[in-house]
Symmetry: C2
Subunit: 106 residues, 2 copies
Amino acid sequence: MDDADAVFKALADATRRGLLDALFVADGQTVQALCRKVPEMTRFGVMKHLAQLESANLITTRRAGRTKQHFLNPVPIQQVSDRWIGKYARPFTHALVDLRDELHTA
Amino acid sequence: MDDADAVFKALADATRRGLLDALFVADGQTVQALCRKVPEMTRFGVMKHLAQLESANLITTRRAGRTKQHFLNPVPIQQVSDRWIGKYARPFTHALVDLRDELHTA
DNA sequence: TTGACAAGTGACCAAACAGTCACATATCAT
DNA sequence: ATGATATGTGACTGTTTGGTCACTTGTCAA
């Protein structure tokens, strides 16, 4: 589970999270299309972020002619969520379930 | 939701995640006790990490005499999980919704 | 085949960060 | 009081990271 660190690090940047959000809305976008979502940064900055997302396996890419399409890969996020975050997020779920049950039985 | 960024950044470091894990096992530990969990680093490094976790609101502290106790606060993790990670970690839900919509419009 | 267009590379800089250390403060036990 | 213990602070350093730029490579269309 050493790639979990790469995932956490990749998610630590707001620009990268924004790029994932953009791909969540519309998958398969090109570099240029994604650059339009981050107008305050040059193409090179965006490309660096995309490279990090790809090396963390959070996105996959495919060449299409002279363009490059980017696709979201939610699997690493799911794994990190299951194996690490869920450990902390679960008690809350239990609390909600308990509250719901309490309301139901009340 | 600007503190979400602090949470993501705080979780981006393996040492800090290890400290949270240590507190998950045993809550309320002192600085020294936590230092024992990270023997490859000096106390000062550990204290810096603890300070970051605290400023991200992932832990709370309480002075107890000349010691300081550290307590896990899972709420920020839960919020991040619910509002951001869950979006990606539940593609199955989305798939179901999409399927339902498709059936509806068909 | 020429030119416009999309993406890639390596060098480069500034800012942020991880980590350490000398030193300081506060607290407990004797 | 005195010394040992627990934590705190500010300065300092090496490394990583975010971002830009000049220049290159590959691809499409006229």
